[in-house]
Symmetry: C2
């Protein structure tokens, strides 16, 4: 059975040494988020995820969720109890507002804990994850009364939450959605329609489920300008605010999926269910998108998380599995064969994964830190910079980290040979679970379009210009360090190529938007690689400083070795992406649709 | 439910127009393989695969195979009947020797029919596929008596076959195998041991199952030099040559796999089962490897086949699914949205798949033709060339076509958005089934090592030098055709870079074999891309000739458009692979094993 051990040394390295997240404690909002307290939470989470959640991962995959004739849903053995532990450990409220019972932990620490949950058991982690999203949406857009009514219970974990967006005929294009909302005399609405792919839509873990649902109020404009957001609880609340009468919103079916079997992905039927408008009429997407941007960071983190757990198990296997001999002669002479980790190609797959994971971890945590700083930093220009960077990085983190994480997870499965294909070994599940992350919260192609079509050009390209300036300053500051020359050269080269791609897209996307669309995914990967090159630059500087400072910990030289792999063996992809972008749309658009 | 329609127009293009396989009829062995006869068989196969096998694909996935307490195995509903149809249609003997009841069809036509079966239902196709392999092994290595005893029934499809190689502790490294064979007074052997991952190891389709099993005769040398090959029938034969007494070889368990659920992948227990030595003692691997080389072409073909069926369904979906608007303004103004095929990125995924598939098809068929010619051509130098090319191309076809086919199949799944993750839509199954093709018959990393470590240097590098010369001649012949300049430039450039990589590996692999190992998979991909560039060159020449000859069929200009995509958007990967190769082994070997 596969195992998971939170990579807590590396997490602390990024959090404390590279990003210095302790800087947050200078702000009142995060004054209590000192390193000791936060690390204690991480340690507790590490223990819980490896001991409780990881062993339930295969169980969830094999049992799946069961819908009964009355529409109720049973989650896999142990999930309910594990969720109870999450609640009892106070983990549901970690990142939420103290005003409603939360702990107000910085998002950057929270995402580190979230990485552990997702790695240990992605299907399980989605139950609290969706609840966090729904809670956040109410925090952002709800009235004070709505907040008072729903947040304390959700933050305590007594009630869970969901997001109801997709309908059978519309996913990406929410403007087509048909679910309708009819205003009632008491100010509530009756919601009618069908939603699909609703994660955690129905289950047996909580006393109530708070559905957030996009619907169109009767008479609202067509398209995206007529969409409103509603709170639709599974049980309406009685006078004391406790779950009372059943609301007619129910699970019509559970989807049979490639992965995340332990999460109940439901078809949800709303039959004149009572709903409460969040914020203004027809402005539902605004709230939803604020919430979704954070959710996209979380999905990018899932890409890292599956890649991490796949890596851990593949590394164990590669050191354990005895098969064949090293090309340079036996390394395990007394044994019948050498462990397969002696083979350069096995190491290639492991290092590709390790170098990606560690770079991705830094990038996700950095983005989460920027989000924290955006809320507390005293300087408006700095806050604006945080917002700019997040706009730019969010689609990259979602799209690139899941695209690349899929590849690395498949590579890790490959290391197991035939055993990788056998479910009992667990590697197949990582691949199958991972697969959804490329699709949900906006398919990766949509992320790339968001990046190229919106984020890049926003405010005259300010975000990327600022980031480029920051990288230039970093290169100037560290360019003289001979030990780090490969890192600096790699980063500089990546930045130059990214700039060339950006210029090409700017010039050619104007004349024909299809030129931008045709290069969008390649560009997203270039930005991903460049971001990781920057992260590796920062990490290399930190590691080198520790070495120069006399540290004997192997962690630091190993960090540099791993980073060198990234620079030498992963950055060459930049050229291929650039060349593809520069071919433009014509080779893609020339074929008549009928000829496909 | 997904569908499959054999791409028969494209298959005929490759077979008749590009490769001119009718040339085979000039040789006595294939005198009856005229185009009309062969095409009639393809048409019949097309009908059978789309109408019978394709609808059973999902059934096989959902039901899987069931092992009963007595060790017997039931295949999914409809499989047994479909196999009966295969037999009744005379398809089992298509490629086998007429001497034992086969039809003696050229391998190149046979692989075209095989592509259809694998695309429609990979799990099913493996039952006849394994039987073909076992039949071939007996044809190659068996005594005349063994041939007379087993071949007629296997070629008639009454008996099926299997290959028993892998054991729990050894897959790649067969030298470690422990299954033992004890000589008996009557010349037979008693075979004892456990084999795993035995495809089609037990089932309900045939009257007997002829297991080919690798084992070590008592007292044989250790390692690969002490391995012998045995025939072990499920039922021993009575005096009339019919299945009689049960031989103690049985299915101990069925593996739970990521995909190909419809194929019974068995743990096989040999408990002093009666076996008959094939060929000489301790020379079992020789026969096995001849057979496996053909099997590797078939696995490469599976990569193409899954990518093809995934493509077909994704293309249908992309033209059908209405969502969002084209970047350049509405294309379906009267509808609520445009079909998603208007988007460059959707087209990118489709074209990447289509251009790969069509190139891969030409490459696999070409290799199969070379194999046919190797057996019949009058000129020894030509036969030697065929053998050289096959040595070089076999690992590339197996490794590159399945690596790349995996990516394209995942891309096709991506086009379905959320529906791609739902099993009912069938795209998940293509990905899950496909996955094994990167692993079995020698994992792709092993293919790459075979290519770089053995095939490249054989006979002083003769194979690649000859192939390069052939490509040079082709470029010279077609270099003046302005319509084809992109194809010729692309091919020339690819060849130049491949040569640079080859030189680097030759020079640096000598001093340190790990340098060769570290670049092996990248090199395999470079050779795959260059081979496809050559195929696309040939296809472009053929298509252009048809256009110049006045053909009005859209097929030809569309072929050129698809090929242009390959040249402009897929060949840029050459640079990335080359750069990675040239970093050598050091970045991979620097990390201590304990640090992974």
């Amino acid at each position: 059975m596969p195992s998971y051990n939170a990579p807590i040394r590396d997490q602390k390295f990024v959090l404390n040494e590279v990003l210095n997240v302790a800087q947050l404690t200078q702000y009142e909002k995060f004054a209590e988020a000192d390193t000791d307290t936060m690390e204690a939470i991480l340690e507790q989470s590490a223990k819980f995820t490896s001991e409780v959640l990881a062993p339930l991962n295969v169980v969830g995959d094999q049992e799946g969720c069961i819908r009964h004739d009355d529409g109720s849903v049973t989650t896999p053995t142990g999930f309910k109890e594990a969720y109870k532990q999450v609640v009892e450990n106070g983990m549901m409220g970690l990142a939420h507002s103290p005003e409603y019972g939360g702990m107000g932990m910085p998002g950057v620490w929270h995402i580190a804990a979230g990485e552990m949950q997702s790695a240990a058991n992605m299907a399980f982690a989605m139950y609290p994850g969706l609840t966090n999203g729904a809670t956040k949406a109410i925090e952002i857009g709800g009235s004070e009364e709505q907040k008072q009514t729903f947040l304390p219970k959700m933050i305590a974990g007594e009630w869970t939450g969901t997001m109801n967006l997709t309908e059978p005929h519309c996913g990406t294009d929410l403007g087509l959605l048909k679910t309708k909302a009819v205003p009632q005399a008491d100010g509530s609405y009756k919601i009618t329609g069908q939603k699909i792919f609703i994660s955690a839509g129905e289950h047996d873990m909580s006393d109530n489920i708070i559905h957030l649902c996009l619907a169109r109020i009767e008479g609202a404009p067509a398209g995206v300008k007529g969409i409103s957001l509603f709170i639709v609880p599974k049980f309406k609340l009685d006078e004391d605010g406790n779950p009372g009468e059943r609301n007619p919103v129910s699970c019509g079916a559970i989807e049979h999926k490639m992965g995340i079997h332990g999460n109940s992905t439901c078809v949800m039927n709303f039959d004149e269910a009572e709903g409460y408008l969040i914020g203004e009429e027809n402005k539902g997407l605004k709230v939803m998108f604020v919430m979704m941007n954070r959710a996209r960071l979380d999905v990018g983190m899932q890409g890292l998380a599956q890649s991490e757990v796949a890596y851990q198990n593949a590394a164990i296997y590669a050191k354990d599995r005895i098969q064949g001999r090293a090309l340079t002669g036996p390394k395990n002479e007394d044994g019948p064969a050498d462990p397969i980790i002696v083979h350069p190609d096995v190491r290639r797959m492991l290092l590709e994964t390790k170098a990606f994971n560690e770079g991705a971890r830094a990038l996700v945590y950095w983005a989460a830190l920027l989000e924290d700083l955006e809320h507390v930093h005293e300087d408006e220009a700095f806050r604006q910079k945080c917002d700019d960077y997040l706009g730019l990085l969010t689609p990259v983190i979602k799209g690139y980290l899941t695209d690349k994480g899929m590849q690395t997870t498949i590579d890790c499965q490959q290391i197991f040979g035939g055993h990788g294909f056998i479910e009992e070994w667990g590697m197949s599940q990582f691949v199958r679970d991972m697969r959804i992350a490329l699709i949900y919260e906006g398919a990766n192609g949509i992320q790339a379009l968001d990046l190229v079509g919106r984020k890049l050009a926003r405010h005259g390209g300010r975000a990327l210009m600022t980031l480029n300036g920051e990288i230039d300053a970093f290169l100037k500051e560290n360019g003289d360090n001979e030990n780090l020359s490969e890192f600096m050269t790699g980063l500089k080269d990546a930045k130059t190529k990214l700039t060339e791609a950006t210029m090409w897209l700017m010039q050619n996307g104007m004349t024909n938007p299809d030129n931008a669309g045709a290069g969008s995914v390649d560009y997203m990967h270039m930005m991903g690689l460049t971001s990781l090159a920057y992260m590796w630059g920062m990490m290399a500087v930190t590691a080198q400083k520790a070495i120069d400072g006399g540290s004997n910990e192997d962690f630091y030289p190993n960090k540099l070795i791993t980073g060198r792999y990234f620079v030498l063996r992963m950055l060459p992809m930049m050229d291929a992406h650039l060349a593809k972008i520069k071919t433009g749309a014509e080779p893609l658009m020339a074929l008549e649709a009928a000829a496909f």
